[in-house]
């Protein structure tokens, strides 16, 4: 059963879709109920992944493998590590949230609408679990189709423009990515004598730097457009603005993560030398920082509520890519966490817009004002989403942002100095948006008597609120989950990064926990009273070091990973 778990998760939405096709188009409530059941079931079957996942185990888990097109070397090969587990869970949860939030917002072509979402769901899960490039590419492209229709059919006034822009833009990127994949594919043949798309095989390639760089840029275009990184971001505001609420939610929460995930899963491990290349790193970090500041500044001046949030995504995703190209453990771990955080926070912000759009059918900020008087519950939820997005400590955003900043600071202090301005501007545009829409007097008579959130709408927000608080207050499980895969990536890109630590003993988890214990095994003793003398010794414990004090302890420490400034 366990080895088929991923396949079940992948197929669950398709099964729901199959049943949906046989439901009569006339009975709308039946379709609605069934679509919600199906997406909830999709989430439910993914839950066992969480508790059956073996935290800290190297490599991929729940791996399932079958030959698919042997002559091409294409396989059905799926598996997840900590990074993909988080993204899969984000996908299944957001899939349900998106379905639930469309209950009353969408009325025409219901069956097709929900069918598209279920198809999209499978595509997204597939992207995050594929370990074979052929399979990955199919899912990657599969995602485009339902999203194209969701924007193009159920979208706003300029839906056709937005849908075509979205489709062509991302397709252009992915075609270049395909060239990169094929380069690797043929290189593998010339080096090993057989064709395969299997990623673990392709990782054995020894490529000259020049080739790696070419492939890197090809991948870069595919992923950077998806993220989207500056200056490839302009499809995003249009797509977001025109997409229906659920489409925006999925687009922001999950689809964009395909790009950052691509960098983490493919660019870095497959092309380590290119990823380390100073020019490439500098360009990517510069684009990320420009994205952070630029996205924030542009959102400051938006008049359209949804466009504002869309540009804030550019800013937040800038943090994610900056973390990745810090190429150190904290940058990457923070980046993954921030991807989840962005899914939660921006997902909530788009849901907030959806709620109000359903009532008033306009996204002009100037149309609103004083809504907090009319819809107090809504105002609270929006405030929560805003604070979570602005990175208030004890909510999710802070942990991710701060970890990324730590990583960026380690890589290059100037990066962190620039990136931190995004934190300021983030508060500015969100608070201003909140003030213009929620505070003050009700100036527009159309806003009087708007109904507050109903039970279903509260239920849509509830899981995200809980998740945001969980990550904010107790992010340890997430870091535990990410430690192993991130370590593997860093080892690949920067071999010897952990060398100092590894000399101490043990591998992976054990050495990390011994490092964790640097001078703070006391962290495990839940409570203790220390006087200044005792506290004077920062390395008084250090489990692997043994209790050492004085000069001997210090000289021992200098060769050991015990961090204190020697």
């Amino acid at each position: 059963m366990d080895q088929h778990l991923l396949t079940i998760v992948l197929a669950a939405p398709l099964a729901g879709l199959l049943v949906l096709l046989f439901l009569p188009s006339k009975s709308k409530s039946l379709i609605r109920v069934w679509a919600n059941i199906a997406s909830l079931a999709g989430f439910a079957v993914s839950l066992p992944l969480v508790w059956k996942f073996h935290v800290g185990a190297p490599g991929f888990q729940f791996v399932e493998r079958a030959d698919w097109i042997p002559s091409l070397g294409a396989h059905y090969l799926v598996g997840i590590d900590g990074i993909s587990l988080l993204l899969v869970m984000l996908t299944t949860l957001m899939g349900f949230v998106a379905t639930l939030c469309s209950w009353s917002g969408v009325n025409d072509r219901l069956k097709e609408y929900y069918a598209m979402f279920l198809l999209l769901q499978t595509g997204m899960i597939g992207v995050f679990i594929s370990l074979d490039f052929f399979l990955f590419y199919i899912f990657w492209e599969l995602v485009l189709v339902p999203m194209y229709f969701i924007i193009g059919v159920w979208g706003g006034p300029r839906k056709l423009y937005a849908a075509i822009k979205f489709f062509l833009y991302t397709l252009a990127g992915s075609v270049l990515m395909l060239l990169g994949i094929l380069t690797l594919y043929f290189q593998h043949y010339s080096q090993f004598g057989f064709y395969t798309f299997e990623i673990s095989q392709l990782m054995k390639l020894q490529l000259p730097l020049g080739v790696q760089q070419w492939v890197f840029w090809a991948f870069f275009l595919g992923f950077a457009i998806k993220v989207p990184m500056f200056p490839f971001h302009t499809w995003l505001p249009d797509a977001h603005v025109e997409a229906p609420t659920a489409g925006s939610v999925i687009l922001a929460a999950v689809l964009l993560k395909m790009g950052t995930y691509g960098f983490l899963r493919f660019s870095l491990p497959l092309l380590p030398q290119a990823s380390m290349d100073q020019t490439i790193v500098r360009v990517l970090a510069a684009l990320s920082i420009v994205g952070i500041v630029y996205g924030a500044l542009v959102s400051l001046m938006q008049k359209d509520w949804k466009k504002l949030v869309a540009y804030s995504s550019v800013s937040h995703l800038g943090f994610c890519t900056l973390g990745i190209f810090s190429l150190n453990p904290n940058g990457i771990a923070g980046s993954v966490l921030q991807q989840i955080n962005h899914g939660i926070s921006t997902g909530m912000l788009f849901l907030v817009i959806g709620v109000i759009y359903e009532r008033r059918h306009t996204r002009e900020i100037a149309e609103y004002g004083g809504l907090a008087h009319v819809m107090p519950r809504f105002a609270k939820i929006f405030a929560f989403a805003m604070l979570s997005s602005a990175g208030l400590p004890l909510l999710n955003g802070f942990v991710g942002e701060f970890t990324i900043l730590q990583g960026a600071f380690e890589a290059n202090r100037i990066w962190a100095v620039f990136a931190v301005t995004g934190v300021i501007l983030g508060a500015a545009y969100l608070l201003w948006l909140y003030q213009r829409t929620m505070l003050g007097q009700v100036t527009n008579p159309k806003n009087l008597g708007l109904p507050d959130l109903n039970f279903r709408e509260c239920a849509v927000f509830a899981p995200l609120v809980v998740w945001a608080i969980w990550i904010g207050v107790y992010p340890k499980p997430y870091f535990d989950l990410l430690r192993q895969p991130v370590t593997e990536i860093v080892e690949r890109v920067k071999p010897g990064y952990f060398a100092q630590a590894a000399a101490v003993g043990g591998t992976d988890d054990r050495f990390l926990s011994s490092v964790t214990a640097r001078g703070r095994a006391d962290a495990r003793l839940d409570r203790l009273t220390i006087g200044p003398q005792v506290a004077n010794l920062p390395h008084k414990t250090g489990t692997s070091v043994g209790t050492s004090a004085g000069v001997a302890g210090r000289s021992a420490c200098s060769t050991l990973p015990c961090g204190g400034a020697r």
């Binding site: 931190v420 934190v423 009087l448 207050v473 992010p475 100092q500 400034a565």
Partner: protein, 713 residues
Amino acid sequence: MNFLDQIWLIPLVPLGGAVLMLLLGRLLDPQPVSEVALAPGVGPQKHGHTGHGHHPHSPLKFLVSLICPGTVLVSFLLSAAAVLQLSSLPHKVHEVIQFTWISAMPFHMANGHMAVFHVDWGFLLDPLSGVMILVVTGVGFLIHVYSIGYMAHDNGYYRFFGYLNLFVFFMLMLVLANNYTLLFVGWEGVGLCSYLLIGFYFHKKSAADAGKKAFVVNRVGDAGFILGMLLMLSVLGTVRFTEVNALLRSGQFVTETAGFGVLSVMALAMFFGATGKSAQIPLYIWLPDAMEGPTPVSALIHAATMVTAGVYMVARSSALYELTPHTSMIVAVVGALTAILAASIALVQNDIKRVLAYSTVSQLGYMFLALGVGAYWVAVFHLFTHAFFKALLFLCSGSVIHAMGGEQDMRRMGGLKDKIPVTHWTMWVGSVAIAGIPGLAGFFSKDEILWQTFHSPKGSAALYVIGLATAAMTAFYMWRLMNMTFYGKSHVEPETARHIHESPWTMTVPLSVLAAGSVLVGWLGTPKLWTVFTDAFRGFPRWLEPVFELAEKGEAGNTAATEWSLMLLSVAVAAAGIALAYLFYTKRPSIPERIYERFRGLHKVLYNKWYVDEIYDFLFVNGMCKGGGRAMGAFDREVVDGGVNGAGWLTRFLALVSMWWDRWIVDGTVRFTGFFVRMLSYPATMIETGRVQAYALFVVAGVLAFLGYYVVR
């Protein structure tokens, strides 16, 4: 019971109150429907203290008044018990680590060593945080009680108390945290509560604006704080106070006397954070606007507790600032300049709360001056005394405003002394205390600051003069306030005058307690000079000694004569300030008018707060942010998206050309070929008609032609 291990309860109890209020408060205190229906054109609904009893009291509302102050009282009792137990510990430090908060990954420190980015959720109780929690919960409780009376008629009673409790939670997190990152949780959290409470009357644009301004300006400072923390992680590998201090005091780091080193930058970045939270130059501008919030908020957040967070943080980092004389110098100069700048603005303001707001900025400047010259305990001492008398002054001003039905302009007050006697006498005590008259709290702490500024090796005579001038101005503006409000001729409008009444006991009792505090707490830190008093009267410095671990500096020579004369000097300027204010605003109101006529320009500059807000607006808000945002937006639309659309347009143009080419050239060739062949075959088609007669005719004609040919030949 071991209260030391239960310090986690101290912040948690108010958090419980806050959660309860924000989730269920509406059930206890149902909001009137009228709040909702704000039709345009109807105009602002009467909110605030003006609208007496415009919605019926809910029978359960008293529960709100019971729960919220109650949680803070419980916190206070727990704090007191814990501090009591702390005092019996030999080292007076107690650290409790509850769980791991951020357990991120290893990283390379600046020196190439490995460290782990690891942040605990832990609490540190030492004398410094002990003082802070007692102030926060003690003064906090009194202000909660006061709010019961003050906010009784406001809409959103439960909301107010929920925010207030949330604030107490975050403030306790701030002062109890055992590391900088967890301190930052409280740091941002109190900023959030400040935002929520400043914007409590959010239907007013000015209130919403002020809240936003406070939050964003604070965020600017926070950016500095974050960078300071990152630098600390990079250099020291940890953010935990005990470890940081131990490392810094271990002797591995030398005092950076030569110039700006990495530690100086770190200290400066953190101080930049403090300038945001504690309203110092260049980020003080948010605090005066913050007076849009209800007065208890001004007293609790913007006078007694939150704004002192920066002082607390710098005092907490004393080990760092001891190593960075250049940054300390900057701290002292910024503090002194802020003190005098704010005092100069306070001289001419007419809004009673704005005077107090600038006074707070100025007093905070004193604290930073003390920190900058290395007198950490004195800064904390001034923080402590200031918490009492400034909270008192704010609450009294609230009581005045309450009595005046919402009026805040001092020009429309006067002669209130006998109408609201309790308010008057308590405010009198507060004003004497802040002016620096011996015997009351403000004297002891302020005088010690001035003395240390003069005497300490880090201080200087110039800073002392600035401090002394500020002291004179302080006495003057406070007594200007007293004279304009309570004495002299009444300028109260007759309609308002009829409603003037003393506040209910829930308000006057906290006033009296704080007034008693404003008299007494100063005696915990009497000057060494006053040898008649025993050590019991110098408990405060001795209590804080273990925190700062500063070697007792030997008294260089006999400075007693200097100290006595400086003390007399500062008392003299304070008395002069008071006398001058009495002369100007009660005895001879014509004098200030003449001065005003004479120095109209200067008055205008002071009244408009040196135009700093306008300059900032021009440079940062409109210039960098809005201008930049607009420019970037245009760039995004025209250039970046223009590129994309251009690519689309080009593609379509090429497609059009191709289509034309295809139709007329490529296909044209094909069709021309066909046409050409058809043209060629045209003659042939002429004869191919399909009519048998014609063919028969051709045959006959052919035969005849052949025959003719042979016949003719």
